[in-house]
Structures are given as structure tokens and as C-alpha cells.
Symmetry: D2
Subunit: 363 residues, 4 copies
């Protein structure tokens, strides 16, 4: 059956490609015509996901300059599928032959074999984090579309292990994408210590989407927060998702958790607080959309672990090579990309909601 490599109904992305295959990429079907788009638009997004940039990321060399193969004419989208290709350049297959028969703890190896009976074991194949390069490229297109509607998603590291930010300083630029310099310093120390042991760390990513008008999203199964949860939980290593007050809402009372509707100075409807995280009953309520996700520690560690091979024989494994001691900073832009894809999809869907718009156009 179709392996679930497509996302979205109206702004629909299909990704393909394995970690160490020839190439990976995506096809976007549903981007409206007339959007200005060039390959340069990808750079700032791809740059944030790229490895080998700091002490906290693997040194694998990926150039990752996406090539647009279709869907653009004279610098603008044409409404037809936009296909984007990213060649794999640094795919040293030899590094992975020793794990061909072994089920790495914390990885999808065993599940792949159980599901398909065959597995591209080179670097995790399709389940590698490298697959997210295609998501980020697609997200860049969605972001450009949203920008034209005044909408912007912004993700950052909320916590690394036990170190949580206590402020949002937009001028703070660091390798962990933590907008709080003190937290960054403490988190760096935390990661370095685990990394020195060959161990790894996890963390929490927060994302804020501003500019979403009220009335976007669906009221039943495809609630806007359900779609965001689907999108974000589909990123490997993400183990939890929450919107607004999230799990803390379970500790609150109705009176404290409800947000009062009030008029702004222009008389428009806004909310006095934002416990809801910008979504009520699955539909945007005009406030910023705020959500968080939990990222588990990198599964690939340079420590001795017990496991089994395909035949069920006990084996010891110590994963060679250099891996990200913490995957959170590189996942930040992936979370943002998935948010962009969800909001773009919901925004396009909303165009058909009101008959009056329909009539204005066609009658």
C-alpha cells in the first residue's frame, strides 16, 4: 500500500529518497500559480538543517542545494507540480555494512524488516533524518506562500534536557537555536558532557505561527491542532506534542483555562489570554498558534549496547562514526517546515468555505 509519503490535501507534498541512495526530493502539487520562487529561496532554510556546522552536529558533508525540476516558468509557479531534487553527495555506503543485519536500539530497523521483509540499511535508508531535507525544501515553498498572506511560523529550541529558556531574545543567535544566552551556555555544557561519554541528549522545540486569521481549520477529524500534531509527530524522534497550555491544561480549571474574548482598540475580536494556543474546536481563533514538541535523545550513540541481529542472535553494537549528540537544533527548522505545510494546506482549504465568496467570483 502507499507508504504514507504524502502530506496535505490541497498543498500536497510527496517526498522520496533514502539516506544513501542517488537522491532525495519532493513533489508539491497544489501550490497556487503566480508565486515568485527561485532556488535561492531554499538556501536560508536548508542552511539551518545542514549538518557539520557546529560541535553539536555530525560532520557529514551535505551541500544540499535543491534543484527545481518543474513547476516554475519565468520565475513564477504555474500551478503544476513543483518537483525538487537534492542529490546525495556524501553517501559513503561502506560505513554502514557492519550494521546490515543488526537491529539498532532506538531505530526503525526491526520494524522495517517486520513490515517489508527487506531494508535499505545504509544510514537508516528511508527512515533516516536525511529524509527531512525534502520536507524543509517543501516547507520553504509553503513559507513563501504564507508570507504573501502575512503569516509566519517561527520555531526555536525551548529546552535541551533539563535546561529551559526563560526568555525569547530575538537577537540571540547560537548553535542550539536557543533564544536565551544563559540557557544556551548551560545547555551546551549539558550536551558536551553527554557527548564526551558517547551519549546523547533530547529537548523541546516550540513554534509560534503569527498572522493566521480566525476561521482556518476543520471542526472534526482534521482539526487544525490535530493536523499539526500529525505533521510534527511524523518527524522522527518526536515523542510528544502539545498546543497552548498543553499538558498543563489538565491541571487548570475551566475558569482559569478559558480565554475571554475582548475587543482590541479597533473593535476587532481578540482574546485576553491565549491558553488555547490559537485554536479552539480545531479552528483558528485569531491568536498566535503556539505548540511544542518533545524530541528524544539521538538514538545513535557511541556506547556499547545489547541487541539482536535478524536471526535473533544476541549482538553487541557500538555505532561508529560521528552523530549529532543532540538532534534538537537541526530539527527546529523541520518543525517549522511542517507547521508551514499544515497552515498552507488549511488556508487553501478555507477558500471554499463561504458560498458568498463563491458567488462573487462566478456569478
Amino acid at each position: 500500500m502507499a507508504s504514507g509519503s504524502s502530506f496535505g490535501k490541497n498543498f500536497r507534498v510527496t517526498t522520496f529518497g533514502e539516506s544513501h541512495g542517488t537522491a532525495l526530493g519532493c513533489v508539491i502539487d497544489g501550490c497556487p500559480a503566480g508565486l515568485e520562487l527561485t532556488e535561492a529561496d531554499f538556501a536560508p532554510y536548508m542552511q539551518r538543517r545542514r549538518p557539520g556546522q557546529s560541535e553539536f552536529t555530525t560532520s557529514r558533508n551535505e551541500d544540499d542545494a535543491p534543484e527545481i525540476l518543474s513547476g516554475i516558468f519565468e520565475g513564477k509557479t504555474t500551478g503544476t507540480p513543483i518537483s525538487i531534487l537534492i542529490r546525495n553527495k556524501d553517501s559513503r555506503s561502506k560505513d554502514y555494512s557492519d550494521i546490515a543485519d543488526i537491529y539498532r536500539p532506538g531505530h526503525a530497523d526491526y520494524g522495517f524488516d517486520a513490515k517489508f521483509g527487506i531494508r535499505d540499511y545504509r544510514g537508516g535508508g528511508r527512515s533516516s533524518g536525511r529524509e527531512t531535507a525534502a520536507r524543509v525544501a517543501a516547507g520553504a515553498v509553503a513559507a513563501k506562500l504564507l508570507e504573501s498572506a502575512g503569516i509566519r511560523a517561527c520555531a526555536y529550541t525551548k529546552a535541551i534536557g533539563p535546561v529551559t529558556i526563560s526568555k525569547y531574545d530575538e537577537n540571540e543567535i547560537n548553535d542550539l537555536y536557543m533564544p536565551d544566552h544563559d540557557a544556551f551556555l548551560k545547555a551546551s555544557e549539558y550536551v558536551r558532557k553527554l557527548s564526551a561519554e558517547g551519549n546523547s541528549a533530547g529537548g523541546i522545540i516550540e513554534c509560534i505561527v503569527s498572522g493566521v486569521p480566525a476561521g482556518i481549520g476543520d471542526p472534526v477529524f482534521d482539526k487544525l491542532d490535530a493536523m499539526l500534531a500529525h505533521a510534527v509527530m511524523s518527524i522522527g524522534a518526536v515523542k510528544g506534542f502539545e498546543v497552548g497550555d498543553g499538558f498543563d491544561a489538565s491541571l487548570s480549571s475551566g475558569f482559569d483555562n478559558n480565554d475571554a474574548f475582548i475587543p482590541d482598540r479597533d473593535g476587532h475580536i481578540i482574546k485576553a489570554t491565549n491558553h488555547s494556543g490559537g485554536i479552539l474546536g480545531g479552528i483558528s481563533d485569531g491568536s498566535d498558534i503556539v505548540f511544542r514538541c518533545a524530541v528524544k535523545p539521538t538514538a545513535s550513540i557511541s556506547m556499547l549496547q545489547q541487541t539482536l541481529d535478524r536471526k535473533g542472535t544476541p549482538r553487541e553494537i557500538m555505532i561508529k562514526g560521528r552523530h549529532d549528540p543532540v538532534i534538537v537544533p537541526r530539527a527546529v527548522v523541520v518543525v517549522e517546515a511542517m507547521a508551514d505545510l499544515v497552515i498552507a494546506d488549511a488556508l487553501l482549504a478555507s477558500l471554499g468555505d463561504k458560498l458568498c465568496d463563491f458567488l462573487m467570483k462566478y456569478k
Copy 2:
């Protein structure tokens, strides 16, 4: 555009109906032929969702005996759509006319108006918790299918407000669906206190799915945990979702979080621990699937709240009538139903995964 009232690809459910309309129900397309099914199969599930059963639930009288309209012949499913109808019997529209123009805090009222420009204000209309009756009926069919494959989902209340269970006693039966008698007593006290003020409480629901073989689910966008997140976050009032160690995984290290693969006494592959919650890389790993969700406090409270009407005029509202002081116990079976739907869908999808099976059948 289609309002997102369908869920699933292979075991596909479409629900319809408003809180105070004529009826609500669902159509299930994709249930395999040959499954024994009668209307009596719904009773134990509907009973758990039904209001008016304890001091913690609204006294609205819903009989909720689902009627099967199609898809069954001589007591078995035929492979064609199973449609299920639930008539609304206790729909006192007069109770709701006073809130026709007011945006209730914590509810979808404003979003509905912003989205559709029109709203069935009677009891929340389509966004009412009553919509979940159709989900529970559909879930009962999925559960029966899963039962035949040795799979069973079981949900219960993990926490009410700050009161968390510290054991799972399967013999403990109480109105809060908390499998820990001491916790139940404390939680009851907590809810009673808030309820006496006209206020409300939230909580956490946990669900364990046992018997799922390794290899179920998809590796990319439709990861099994992403589908569960989508399904569970689509229940009104749910604000967070986590699988396995969830948010706590962000505090762990790779070495502690990875689960070792070991042989069981028959030599089959199992895991020594279950930090993953039964899913790795989006695919089931053979362990129990374990997830939790956070439920916000009931939005309808009998306390004075500030809000606006459709024209943006400030209004005060105190929601009349009796409402559930805590929605958690009634949501338990809804969470279980959504889990059943997700697993049934993924299980059917997995039938096409291996070519060898394909060839055995057709050649």
C-alpha cells in the same frame, strides 16, 4: 471544501450530525467482509460514553442505541458501507437560544462564525462533544475486527487535575475510570470542590494497545504514532499527546532511552524495556503501544465570564444547565475508539506490504 469529517484510508469512517439536530451517525467504508456484528456489540462502548450516570456527568438523557442501516447481512459484515444511526432524543433547543449570538469562552463558536459565516448554536452543533457518540460506535466495529486478530486497546483515566494514579488495579470500577481506588477518592474530592463553585477540572487519559504485531504503520508522514496523535488530538478538549516516555524523553539520554532488543524464551524478538511506547520510526515494534493525552477542563462553566457577541459588543455570560464538571471519564472510551480506528486502518494497510504474500495468493 470537505470539512474533515472522515478518518482513515482503508478502514474509513465518516461522521455526521449536530448536537441538537435530528440524528447523528457514521458510515464505515472498508470493514472486511465476514465479521460478525450486531447492534448489541455497541452497547458496552456506548454505555461508557453515556451522560447522566454519575455525579460527574451531565444529566442529559441520551438513549443512544445505535441502529445499523446497512452493510450487515445475516449477522455478518458484507464488505459494503456500514451505516450507523443515532437519533437525538433529548434535544431541548430552547436551552440554547440565549447564547445564539454570544461567543462562549473556550468553545469553537467564534471560529465557526469566522469560518462558515453561519453556525448551528444549539448545544455547540457539530463541535459538541455529542459528535463523539458516532466515533464510539465506529470504534466498536474496529474493536471487534481487532479482537479477531488478537489486538485490544484499553484506555483509562491516568490523572484528574493533580491527582495521578499510582497503580493499575483492573478490578477497580468507579465513575472516574481511575484504576486506583485511593486516587479515585482524592480526585472525586478535587472535582466536587471545583464543581461546587460552578468550575470544572481536566486530566490525563492513558491508553495501552496490546497484541499489535511488529511491522504495522508507515515510515514517513503517516507514522503510526503520528496517526494516533492526529486521531486523539481530533477529540475536542484534548490539548496534548505523547507516546512512550513522551515529554519525559526530552530529559533522558540516548543510552537510557534506547530499548535493548532481546530474545524471549521462545527466541522471538522483544524489547527489554518500552521507552518507545511500542513504536519506532513510525512502525510498531511488537511491544505494547502506550500513549497519553491531556484533556482541558470543561469549557462550559456556571461562573460569570466576560466575552463578546457577534457584533463585538462586550457581554457577560454564565452558562446555564448542568454540564460535566470533568469530561475526562466520558472521554476515556472516545480515546480508546480512536485508537481502535487507527490500528484497524494500519493493519489493513499492512496487508499489501509484502510481495510474497501477494504472490502466494494470486499465482
Copy 3:
């Protein structure tokens, strides 16, 4: 797997129900909010499909007054699923018990058993023509939506057996829905003769959709004519579909088949001829959409036929009871309904095509 009981992406219809079950009906998800709709809107459409009205239709008594269960509030659509219920009243199961084990020639009986291993044999079950009652009800909603955009589909009988109409007289009303009185008289004679032998006739239905603006439909797999073909070929007994000049186009030359673009008196772009049938490259070209379909002779005949039962034992069958000697006149409104559904779906999809519209609304 989902049994293909849904149609459309944006204006999406799901039907359910068997010929002799409790009820049949449909759920429409995606009808925009604000459309005025009452149960009276179904009457003129249901009336055209109803049996027992002339010498050419079966005398089965179906009242077929569709009941709206949801999605309407104060006389208008709310944007949520519209569910429509049609109870089966004249379901005399006893008539069908003798064919429970026999595969009727020209029917789906054998395929159902091969596919599902179980079959509701009462009157064809899910494969009965009665299923189209739900399509007609859904089509009536689509027609009302299209009417508000100035679009109208109109189907009629083009031919019965060898008798083809030679004019379109809109004032000609007859039981065969042939808009040519002379052809009607000849065709009546043709059908009567076959009917007297217990035999049956086929024919051709033509449909013209006027008012569709240029630019509707998709350019690749979901071409507007491909969607119409899918929709119309999904009606039982339809064996062929053609648009514009159809099969005759294969006999023409490029010069004769191409339609010249010319200005109308207001300078708007129109076509001098309409060999294309209003669709070029899958997209509407502004001319009337014109298509035809071939309907096979009714499979249920009162003549002795050779066949097999489930065990492969040769059996003779003569189908009892009265059946339509020709299904064409009752299928006319079904063809029209399917056209309405396709055009409504494509029209809603087109709302997102142009970014400029998008920006006007959101920025």
C-alpha cells in the same frame, strides 16, 4: 479496504445502503455554508428516478422522500456534513430467496462472491440500481449549488436501441425522456416488442452542462472529462462514455476537428464550433460541456437463461417479478446527478487556482 463508496474531493459524497436493507442514503461533506436547502428540493429529482410511473418501469413502490438528518440549520447549509436518509419501504425479501445461490447473467453476483466471499442477494444488495437513489439526492444538492453559479446540467435520452432522436424539443414530455415525439413513438414500439418477449432494451443518454466558465478542471490525471467518465461509468449498466465528437473524432481530421477560437459580439473568447465538447486538455473551454453514455439492456429478463450456482452446478434461471424493460429513462436523472457532482467538485477546487484571489482575501 474502503469499498469505493465515496466520490469527489471537495464536494465529497459517500453513499451507503442495499436494495432491501433498512435504508440507504448519503453523506455530503464539503457543501459550502449558506446555501438554502430543504427536503422539497429533492422532489423533482427523485420523481424522475422513481419506478412505477409508466409502462417502461418496474412497479416497485418506492416513496423515496429523502430525510435530511444533519448539516442544515434554519434552512441553510452550515458547511458541515449533510446526511440524507431514504428508508426502504417496499422490500419484499421473499422475492429473492430463490436466487440466493445462483449467479444471474449480466449481474455482479459472481464478482461479489469472488471478492467478498459473502453477498446480500436480496435484489442485488449494494449493486442494485436502487443505490442510485442516494446519488440523485446528492446530485440535487450539487445542482442547487451550481444553480447559484449559473450552471445547469440537463440530460435526456438520445437513443433507445436503434431509434435516435433527430431534434431537441424542450416541450416534449414523455415516459422515455426523449425530446423528440416521433422518436419516442418508435422507441416505445421497440421496447414494447422486447418487453412482450420478456426481453429488454438499451440506449444512449446525452448530457449538456451549460454555464461552466473556462478554466475549470485539472490538466493531468483528473481531467474534467476523465472525472466525468469516472462518474458516469460508475453507474451500473453504463458501458461507454464519450465527450464532444467522441468516437466519431477518430474518423475526423485535425483541421475538421479543431475548433477555432473567435470573439463573441462583446469581444469575449468563444469557439466557432464545439467538437471538443467543452473540454480541452482536461480543462473547460467555456463552451457547453456535451457528453454521452451507452446503457446496456436491463440484465434482469423474464427469459430462460443458462447459468451456474455457487458450487458451479449448471442451473436454469428465469427472473421473476417485473423489471424495467429499459433502464435508460430512469438513468437519465442519475447521469445528470453525476455530472452535477463532478462539476461542483471541480468548481470548488478551482477556488484555489489563482494566487491573486488568495491574496485579495487574506492580505
Copy 4:
């Protein structure tokens, strides 16, 4: 909205690319794991679609050696998306600049502008017949899958203009793919005469799919013949589709049109005749599936035609360059590819039909 560039639910193909862009290709999601596949498997199919091979095809030079980018490991499919890339090599954009503003009769130019407000005018862009190269590559994968189940689709030219074959000689190989040498000679003369005037011809393609077991396909909207109609009508220039006796069935009687079920010498159920074309009620009946489609004459002709430009100004156009005087022979393999895709999709869907299979596997 998504521009309809995907086809199939279980064996799902997404195509991308314009006639004169960088590349075109496809992504296949849902091909089962374990199928042996190499780039050499494409050659026999691509060869049949390739231009420049005879006097009846354009001399455009396309190498069209598809490159597999993903989804294959050690020579076998892995169950993950198979992406296929075909670079455009002979894309002389300069040939097309003169038609940038003109609406070519018989082409999608006007519709594209009306729909998207922008158009890649180079060689028809996305609506070019070149898009079918990606379909043929995808079809080759489906064909290989079907071959392993003993299923084979075979298409050929049934008629060119008024010249129809009167036999099927499998040893007859010619440039028009007509399996009747006499008909080939007459048809060649017919095409040459039109071609000499700068004009073009149409024809009819027939396809036979053998080896499909009874029980494949869906009974309602997604009938197997409806899916074939959708697939085949989605090929540019196809204006009609019929299955079995097709339009001739409208002239027959029920007694003559019904196929008797009889036992074969092994006691298996077969049909004495095949008026149905192998599909009854949307489900395969075990006989060969037989369908035909009508192909209009090539729209690009070297004769003077009247038309308009984007501003509505009358213009004369004579399309330069060499075009296929008849598109039928090159479309034969495209029709076959679409049939392969439909049958592969339906076959995979059928895996979930019977609960018994389900239980055998999982319990």
C-alpha cells in the same frame, strides 16, 4: 488546489514535469517490497512511446532513459517511494516563442490561462504529450508487478480513421502497431495523404488484460471499468471509452447481451461469451478485460487556422515544426500503462477484502 497529478490509492503515482522544463518524472508510492526492478525494465516500454522512429512520428530526439532515484536496494523494491527521473534533452525553447500569446485550436492553451492566469507555453508545458513518458515509466513498474501475478495488459491500434483491423496477428510488427498487415497498408496510405496536406488523423486503441482473477474492483463509485475510464480518458486526445460491447450494447437486447456462466473443463466458473468485457457491476468476472478508446486527430497541424491571442485579437496560425500526423501508435503504450496502473491498484486493494485472509495472517 492539488492539480490532479496523482493517480491510484494503493499503487499511487504522482507525475511532474513540463515538455521543455529541466526534467519530468514520477514518484510511485505503494509498490510492494521485494519486486526485482532495474532501469533496464523500462526500455521496452519507453521504446514504444519514443518519437522519431518512423514516418508517422515527430523527429524530436528524446533519449528517455529513466533514472531510478530511490526505492530500490540491491535490485529489489523496498516498499518505499520509487522515484524516476527523465531529463529533457531536446528542448529547443526557441521553437515555441511565437505561440506564447496565441491560443492554438484543439489545445489546452486557453484553458490553462483561464485556470491559472499563467502558462508555460513551451511545447504545451504540462499538457504536452511528453508528460506521458512518466506514465509509461510508472506503467512499466506496474506491469512487472502484475506479471508476477500472471496478469498482462496488451494494447494495439484497432483503427486509424476509417481503417479497422479485421484480425489480430501477433507476429505482425509495424509502425502503426496494427496487428493486421492489410489494414496497416491501407491506414498508412490514409495517414500519408492527410500528412501531405499538413493535416492529421485519429483512431481507436484496444486493450486486453488477461489473467485478472474474478473479484477485483469495487462495486460503487470506483468500479473497475470506471477507474479504467478515468485512467484512459486522462490521456490527452482521448475522447471516448468503452468496455466490452460498449456503445454497441445499446443496440442489443438483454438476452443477447447477458453472458451465460458455464463451467470450464476443470469445473471452474467461466463465461460462455464476453459481452461484458470482463467486468460486471464494477468487479472483474474472470474473463479477459477488453476496452477501447477513441483518439482524436493530432491538434497540431501545418495548415492555416483562425484563432485568437490572449487579448482576444484574431490571429492566423500555422504550427511550425514536425508533429505526429497521427498520435495513435505512440499512445498505444500509454493506454497499456494506464491499464497496468489501474489493475495493480485494484489488485492491492483487494488484499483486504476477506476477513479470513486477514485472520490467517494475524492470528
